[in-house]
């Protein structure tokens, strides 16, 4: 899939060299030749190229030697073995399954084996037993930003729901149980909410439009499938605040699958979990080539794993899924431009 309007001459030569003119022509007329080409303009501000990795959705249980403990440890080993090594790792939420402190402690211990720094954002499974108290005790503020080699990186808590528990007289465990069920209609849509929107406005106020921006949230910053909270209710406001930038890259957890979208100046990339894959909802995707092969339930690690991203000097990015097993479509096996 080619964005010819935004493709630069260098991009054009890159395509021609990589896939040949036939591929370019075929893609331009809409023929799927099994190669994904999402070309986007970079930013005018140059960065120092670097790599970072994302681990997410471990869903650790309060059971010793659970298979998900082993999967997360394996993903940590995989990231540690990457060459070149990622500068840092972002953890995309849902370390715990039931929000329990022992699950967060176990996750922190496994993730402490990483050789590089790690930054955290929460998921709903981490949060609703004690409204994030234990999570914040272990991992700090869920809202943060940092500048790294010319890129402004932002993390936000996107799993905030309106109070559905007080009027219903629910216990903390009932609240957590409700949030654990993906298709529970009670909790309603998630969002980052007013306080973080105000924080975001202030955070980016002084930044020039040429600043490369990367944002991490647990849920997608677009309406993918609201029924399963594959969405963030106030994502339009987030995108509006970030619309002044030439390019924004958004990475999210929660969906446990490969998925890509692009809205305005923002490219959005979903991530693999280290626990189980979610099925694709009944949605027409703009980039169906990014779907992974249907996972085989007989292979307990199929459809799971870590991922890493390489950012180039002009803020072009390449997304690499690093699954435990061989489950990527040929179109995304060698990574794809984001």
């Amino acid at each position: 899939m080619i964005d010819l309007k935004n493709a630069s001459r260098r991009d054009f030569l890159s395509i021609s060299g990589r896939a040949g003119l036939a591929t370019l022509v075929a893609s331009a007329v809409g023929i799927n030749v099994g190669m994904v080409e999402v070309l986007t303009a970079g930013t005018s501000k140059k960065i120092t190229p670097f790599r970072f990795a994302i681990l997410t959705d471990a869903h650790l249980f309060s059971i010793d030697d659970h298979k998900f403990d082993i999967f997360l440890a394996q993903a940590v080993e995989q990231v540690n073995a990457m060459s070149p090594a990622p500068d840092f790792v972002v953890y995309g939420g849902d370390i715990a399954q039931n929000g329990r402190d022992d699950q967060l402690v176990k996750g922190r211990k496994i993730l402490s084996k990483l050789k590089m720094p790690i930054h955290f954002i929460p998921g709903e499974h981490d949060w609703y037993l004690d409204m994030g108290a234990a999570w914040k005790g272990h991992f700090g503020s869920p809202t943060w930003s940092m500048n790294h080699k010319g890129v402004h990186m932002i993390g936000m808590n996107s799993i905030l729901v309106r109070d559905f528990w007080t009027a219903a007289g629910m216990s903390a465990k009932q609240r957590m149980d409700t949030m654990e069920m993906l298709e529970s209609p009670i909790a309603g849509p998630w969002g980052v909410r007013e306080e973080q929107l105000e924080w975001l406005k202030k955070d980016v106020k002084a930044l020039g439009s040429e600043t490369p921006v990367v944002v991490f949230t647990h849920s997608p910053l677009w309406d993918y499938y609201p029924r399963w909270n594959f969405q963030t209710e106030d994502a339009p406001e987030v995108r509006s605040i970030l619309s002044k930038f030439e390019r924004v890259m958004s990475f999210h957890g929660h969906v446990h699958q490969t998925v890509y979208n692009k809205i305005g100046n923002m490219s959005s990339v979903g991530t693999l979990s280290t626990s189980w894959p979610w099925p694709y909802p009944d949605v027409q995707l703009a980039y169906p080539e990014m779907r992974m092969t249907r996972s085989d339930p007989a292979m307990i690690q199929d459809g799971e794993g870590p991922q890493h991203i390489d950012l180039e000097a002009d803020f072009q990015g390449t997304m690499h899924y690093d699954p435990f097993g061989n489950m990527l479509q040929p179109s995304i096996k060698d990574g794809f431009k984001i």
Partner: protein, 168 residues
């Protein structure tokens, strides 16, 4: 055969036909009443509802590692009930949906299998099939993930809210 005999034969046949119609009407039952159909629907939905609870972990014996059916199959998605019976490569033969359910219970969930003819298994099947109602039956489709009916709100079937938090 003269005309009188013909008319006599016709008369006998007509009388016999009328008699059999009367007997048939006496033996046949009336169509189900609205109330009876409502009772049947209620029984089905009770089974579907029980199936949904089981699907989301209400029976601890079917999982020893915390995983429930709903972990991989929210709204029964990708459970593909309408594609069974089909050849299952892992088992090496054609199996029914209940066999697949028990395979998931004993393998990814490391739990104790359900009685294949028991009410719990029927409820599990009822939930999956109800969420796939109206979908085309396609036995053997093995490589595609399929989607259930679109559930806009609630649980995907008529259910009165409990107020506790699992439905609406």
């Amino acid at each position: 055969m003269n005309k009188k005999r013909v008319w006599a034969a016709i008369g006998v046949l007509a009388a016999g036909g009328a008699l059999s119609l009367l007997v048939g009407a006496a033996l046949a039952r009336d169509p189900y009443t609205r109330e009876e159909l409502a009772e049947q629907e209620k029984a089905l939905l009770a089974s579907v509802d029980h199936g949904r609870d089981l699907w989301h972990g209400s029976n601890p014996s079917i999982s020893t590692n915390g995983l429930a059916c709903g972990n991989c199959h929210p709204d029964a998605a990708a459970s593909n009930p309408h594609t069974f019976p089909k050849y299952q490569a892992d088992v090496g033969k054609v199996i029914a949906l209940r066999d697949m359910i028990n395979w998931c219970i004993t393998t990814p969930q490391a739990g104790k299998p359900l009685d294949a003819d028991g009410d719990d298994m029927i409820a599990m099947e009822a939930y999956a099939f109800y969420l796939y109602r109206g979908k085309q039956i396609m036995p053997g489709l093995a490589t595609e993930q399929t989607s259930p009916v679109v559930v806009k709100s609630g649980v995907g079937y008529p259910k009165k809210g409990s107020g506790v938090g699992y439905d609406k």
